[in-house]
């Protein structure tokens, strides 16, 4: 059996689902953050697989942009988490529900 586009896409979907579930169910903000990275990479995988199967460079180049954004996001996000921890001594998502009614 050869490994084709469908397999890659299924893997990408699985990664995306794992990431999404992680974002929704885990309490630790750092883990949520990591799950977000997982989702980004699932998208990257789908782009690369598509580009390979179509024989174009478009998908490959978008991945670079995604990785750039992810790096920037990691920097900003980690800084926010750090500031949050300093102020509230916690990184549990449900304990910092400040924006509520």
């Amino acid at each position: 059996m050869t490994i084709g586009l469908v397999h890659w896409l299924v893997l990408s979907a699985l990664l995306m689902a794992i990431g999404a579930v992680g974002v929704v169910v885990r309490r630790n903000v750092l883990i949520i953050f990591m799950s977000v990275e997982l989702m980004l990479n699932a998208a990257n995988l789908a782009f690369v697989a598509g580009a390979h199967s179509l024989g174009t460079m478009n998908g490959q180049s978008i991945v670079f942009f995604v990785m750039t954004v992810a790096a920037a996001e990691a920097a900003v996000g980690l800084a926010v988490i750090l500031a949050l921890f300093r102020n509230r001594q916690t990184v549990a998502a449900d304990e910092i529900a400040l924006l509520k009614w």
Binding site: A20, V23, V24, V25, I32, A93, D94, L98, W101
Partner: protein, 648 residues
């Protein structure tokens, strides 16, 4: 016009505006500085401004009197409303009719101002009283001098306002305050009629290419109005007149108006303001003559009012209430005269009535003043011994209003009755004669119960009873003199006179020769004088023998008399048929419509929005993971939908 007369007119004309303006200056003085400069200054300014108006009015009167027939003095002040073709000016005009009225208003007004300085001497609100009184003079003079309907309406509303202010002058007494409100509201009904009448006239005259409401224009075009239009306009204006001049069905405010200070009752509710309706009808005689049906109605209403008010007057025990119903009754005579086309006779009666009724009101005020605010004639009697001047002058008034030959009331009343007879209105004539008998009866009753016999009040009041100061008795003496001689300006031809008064007014209101033989006229006079003497003798015999004769009448007329005392329960009837339904309807509208529907809709919208917001805000937990879940579900739904639709 003679050059001499023209020159005199040109000299007098620019001063007409000062006739109403001077009292207005007085108002400003009283309000701005009255409390600082004290009573003397207020009294001086109040009387002085009216005296100056009186002097100017006399000048105008003499100019008209000496000038050729039909002379009029006009003082155009400025253009007030200019809208399209329509123009209303503030311009004052004195012709024969206006000159008589302006003399009555300023002359009687001056006397009552002088009297008031004595009567109100101990009132704490002296300046406010004279401010209102002067304001009334200004408004009344605008009404009388106006040369067009809109300007007359300014004065018309102005006197209504002053009437309200002065009836409720002692506003701390709720009963007096509500009497003022009643007068204002009832007059408002009439004013609505006045306005609608004016609009009807304006509408019609615009169609005829004469968009003006000047009295001359209206009278000149009235003959060519469509009959329906003339009738509608005349009736609507007459509604206004019934309000101001206290005729059926709007007379109910006048008896209550006696809550005001007595000089106010004399000036406004007897001598001047209440005659405004009569004056207005006479002023627009052309219009009313073009509507014969309206004239018949006016005559009928006048006769009915004269009779009805006279019967009520018989059973009243408040000295001012008797005079109030008497005023309503005498106003009825004036409208009777208008209704039969005897405009001159109506104005003649306005004048004589102003003299003797002001005299009697001021006399009553003097009695009330001397007896410590006692108004119930059952607790009076024998006052002639303590107040000789008041007694003598009041007696002149009683004789004048009763129609004793030789006094003012005799001439004017008999001219009215003769005109009614001559016009073929026998029914009105009979009403008039009956009214005359009743007038003589209740006036004699009032006189006997007040001044004759023994005092029936308490000793303390009697011991302190005193004649009024000269500022009060002097106007009484002057008015008594006028009540004697006032009639001699209009001696009918049947008595060897020339009917000078009617001839003088003829250029303004037209003159209608009676067209009956002088023997007939003499016979008519004999009948009405006989009726008057009958009434007087009956009252004299009954009440001088037993001051409590009313009790006997009440016993023998048990079904009618209490009703007379309650003035036929008209107030209760109006209360039951108009006021209460209106109140109940308003309450229903308030609770069922305003509160339930309108407020309900506004508040319902608000609470629906608030409720929806209350539910939706639960959505925002503040937990980012919940938001994330929402996003995911949303994305899933969108993707699912697009897939189903075959978009992907």
């Amino acid at each position: 016009m003679h050059p001499e007369a023209a020159q005199q007119v040109a000299q007098v004309a620019p001063y007409l505006r000062y006739i109403p303006l001077l009292p207005l200056v007085g108002v400003i003085f009283h309000l701005a500085a009255g409390y600082r400069f004290g009573r003397r200054a207020v009294g001086l300014v109040a009387c002085g401004s009216v005296a100056a108006s009186f002097a100017l009015a006399t000048m105008a009167f003499l100019t008209i009197f000496n000038g050729p027939a039909g002379l009029a003095i006009v003082d155009p002040v400025y253009e007030w409303i200019a809208s399209g073709d329509f123009s209303a000016t503030v311009s004052f005009r004195v012709d024969a009719l206006a000159s008589v009225m302006v003399m009555i208003v300023t002359g009687v007004g001056l006397l009552i101002h002088v009297y008031s300085t004595g009567y109100m001497a101990h009132d704490e609100d002296y300046a406010r009283f004279f401010a209102y009184l002067n304001l009334f003079m200004a408004a009344m003079l605008v009404l009388v001098l106006a040369d067009n309907l809109p300007l007359m309406f300014v004065g018309w509303e102005g006197v209504g306002l002053c009437s309200y202010l002065l009836i409720g002058f002692w506003y701390k007494d709720p009963e007096k305050a509500s009497a003022g409100k009643k007068a204002f509201l009832v007059n408002r009904i009439g004013d609505a009629g006045f306005l609608l009448g004016a609009f009807t006239l304006f509408w019609t005259l615009s169609d005829m290419g004469a968009p003006s409401l000047a009295f001359e224009t209206i009278n000149a075009h009235a003959a060519s109005f469509a009959p329906g239009v003339a009738l509608a306009a005349a009736l609507l204006l007459f509604v206004g007149a019934t309000g101001k001049s206290a005729q059926i069905p709007l007379y109910v405010w006048l008896p209550d108006a006696m809550a005001g200070p007595t000089p106010v009752s004399a000036l406004i509710h007897a001598a001047t303001m209440v005659t405004a309706g009569v004056y207005m009808v006479a002023r627009l005689h052309g219009l009313f003559e073009a509507a014969p049906l309206a004239m018949q109605l006016i005559g009928g209403v006048g006769a009915a009012t004269a009779l009805m008010a006279a019967t009520i007057g018989i059973a009243q025990n408040d000295i001012k209430k008797v005079l109030a119903y008497s005023t309503v009754s005498q106003l009825g005579y004036m409208f009777l005269a208008l209704g039969v086309g005897a405009f001159g006779a109506a104005i003649f009666h306005v004048m004589t009535h102003a003299f003797f009724k002001a005299l009697m009101f001021l006399g009553a005020g003097s009695v009330i003043h001397g007896l410590h605010e006692e108004q119930d004639i059952r607790r009076m009697g024998g006052v002639m011994n303590k107040m000789p001047i008041t007694h003598a002058t009041f007696l002149v008034g009683v004789l004048a209003i009763a129609g004793v030959p030789g006094l003012a009331g005799f001439f004017s009343k008999d001219e009215i009755l003769a005109s009614a007879w001559a016009g073929g209105h026998t029914g009105l004539w009979i009403c008039g004669v009956l009214g005359a008998a009743m007038t003589a009866f209740y006036m004699t009753r009032l006189y006997v119960l007040t001044f004759r016999g023994e005092f029936r009040g308490d000793h303390h009041t009697w011991a302190h009873a005193h004649e009024s100061p000269s500022s009060m008795t002097l106007p009484l003496i002057v008015l008594a003199g006028l009540s004697v001689v006032g009639g001699y300006v209009g001696i009918p031809e049947a008595l060897g006179g020339h009917n000078a008064f009617a001839n003088y007014l003829a250029p303004s209101v037209g003159h209608h020769a009676l067209g009956i033989a002088s023997e007939t006229e003499l016979m008519l006079m004999a009948v009405s004088v006989g009726a008057a003497f009958l009434g007087m003798t009956a009252a004299w015999a009954m009440y001088s023998r037993d001051p409590r004769a009313d009790l006997g009448i009440a016993r023998s007329l048990r079904s009618v008399y209490p009703r007379l005392q309650r003035a036929y329960d008209v107030d209760a009837l109006y209360d039951y048929t108009l006021v209460q339904p209106l109140m109940r309807g308003s309450e229903k509208l308030w609770i069922d419509v305003d509160v339930a529907i309108i407020d309900g809709a506004a508040n319902g919208t608000a609470s629906a929005a608030r409720g929806a917001g209350g539910l939706l805000r639960r959505w925002s937990t503040g937990n980012v993971q919940h938001y994330m879940l929402t996003v995911l579900v949303g994305v899933a739904v969108v993707v699912f939908a697009l897939t189903l639709a075959g978009g992907l």
